[in-house]
């Protein structure tokens, strides 16, 4: 049983499929996420593949603060993902709400509604920071 668990953790660390959701960002962080998937940064060398459907995804990449409009959709997408699943907040707005904090239509950062495993600050977070954050998240899973 021990060995099986080890193999499973190894597989999970080596093959995270990500889903990208913009819950109200200004699009800068989204561009940086897509940038880190391009040949220049090549996330596939860590086994990270961008998937279009929540059913295939292991990691949900959230950008931007949660707005009243997107809250319901974000929760629905999170519920559609099969266990085990992780959420990464990318950019200052997703981490804390950022400059949008206190706005009447803003619910706050991603962690006000979802359990966030990793925070990657930056406005926008650079591809290098995103890769570093995701690799650190994967490293923490091994424990």
């Amino acid at each position: 049983m021990k060995l099986a668990d080890k193999i499973m953790t190894w597989a999970r660390v080596k093959s995270p499929w990500v889903l990208h959701f913009n819950s109200g960002a200004c699009n800068a962080c989204d561009i940086e996420i897509l940038d880190s998937l391009t040949p220049r940064f090549d996330l596939e060398r860590f086994g990270i593949v961008l998937k279009g459907t929540p059913r295939h995804a292991d990691v949900l990449l959230c950008t931007g603060p949660i707005t009243m409009q997107t809250e319901e959709r974000l929760l629905r997408i999170y519920e559609q993902m099969p266990e085990p699943k992780f959420v990464v907040a990318i950019g200052t707005c997703a981490c804390s709400g950022g400059v949008f904090n206190g706005c009447y239509c803003i619910k706050g950062g991603t962690d006000t509604k979802l359990p966030v495993s990793a925070y990657i600050p930056g406005c926008p977070a650079s591809p290098a920071a995103i890769i570093d954050g995701v690799v650190k998240l994967l490293g923490s899973l091994q424990e």
Binding site: W10, R12, S15, E44, G52, T53, H56, E83, P84
Partner: protein, 309 residues
């Protein structure tokens, strides 16, 4: 002995292992052609194990039995088809008269199950993906069979093993089959739903096509079936169109690996070099270019049979 053949070599276990190797080679070459580093060698295995350990969700609107049975049906169909394909020599493990047609029918089960999977999953994206799977099926399936009929007629047998043995004895006749090789490769690319014929799972349009609602181990087995198909189609192509065989089983097996990897390389270069065609462009290409070419190929082979044999 038959059980060993079916379960271990060259049946399920070998095919699954070689399928993961082939998927890695495909992804690595694709990455290198895009000037990327590419995934590590264990990537397909890690993906498979991870998917086995995920929660499986069955949509409430779907028929649960069908939803769970389809991935197993596809894996079983490809494994069965592979038993009649020559691996280490000109003779397959279980050759019989007319096995060429049986192999193609078994491989036809794949797109049909993809269609059923997409339709059953009741998501809008998967329904569109399922329709596209069927639409594309009508485009590539005819050239796929027509490309094999030429060699079959020249040799006078409908068995893949007999065809391989015929061309092993008379390798020069294989030159007549060069158009067939091109047609087969292009049609196989359509059957494998890879770029430029990947409209059924166009992730930029319809997320993941027919597999949109699939997850966990069901998705793992669907991916395994596709990987196995990526072995079986080049293997058939290598057996029929490339007359490189050896009486020694070991050298024959190495030749088999070489042939499948070279053909896979061609398929991957095609995938990296092209953009996606629309469904109707794919239909037009198949019916207006591939099918006439296949008919010309058949005609040449008929004349050659009359004159040279």
């Amino acid at each position: 002995m038959a059980v060993l053949y079916i379960l271990i070599f060259p049946g399920f276990l070998f095919l699954a292992f070689y399928g993961t190797v082939v998927e890695f080679v495909d992804r690595k070459i694709y990455a290198r052609l895009q000037n990327r580093k590419g995934p590590p060698w264990f990537q397909p295995v890690a993906d498979f194990i991870k998917l086995l350990g995920k929660e499986t969700i069955v949509p409430t609107d779907a028929n649960a039995t069908l939803f769970k049975a389809l991935p197993i049906i596809t894996v079983a169909a490809v494994t069965t088809a592979f038993l009649s394909v020559p691996v280490w020599g000109t003779q397959a493990v279980m050759p019989f008269k007319g096995d060429m047609i049986v192999v193609l029918v078994l491989l036809l089960l794949l797109p049909l199950s993809f269609f059923a999977a997409g339709w059953n999953a009741s998501s809008m994206y998967s329904t569109i993906g399922a329709q596209r799977v069927l639409t594309q099926l009508f485009a590539y399936e005819v050239p796929l069979l027509m490309a094999l009929i030429g060699p079959a007629i020249l040799c006078g047998s409908w068995s893949l093993s007999d065809i391989a043995a015929f061309y092993a004895a008379k390798p020069l006749f294989a030159l007549l089959n060069l158009p067939g090789l091109v047609i087969w490769l292009l049609a196989a690319q359509g059957k494998l739903e890879r770029v430029p014929f990947d409209t059924p799972e166009a992730e930029t349009e319809i997320v993941a096509g027919a597999f949109t609602e699939y997850n966990g181990r069901h998705l793992a087995f669907f991916r395994l079936a596709v990987d196995m198909e990526l072995v079986v189609l080049p293997a058939i192509c290598g057996a029929v169109f490339i007359p490189l065989f050896s009486a020694n089983p070991f050298i024959g097996f190495v030749l088999f690996l070489l042939k499948t990897l070279v053909l896979l390389f061609l398929l991957t270069v095609l995938k990296a070099a092209m953009a996606r065609l629309r469904v109707e462009q794919m239909m037009r290409f198949s019916w207006m270019v591939l099918l006439p070419l296949a008919l010309v190929h058949l005609f040449i082979n008929l004349i050659a049979k009359g004159l040279l044999l």
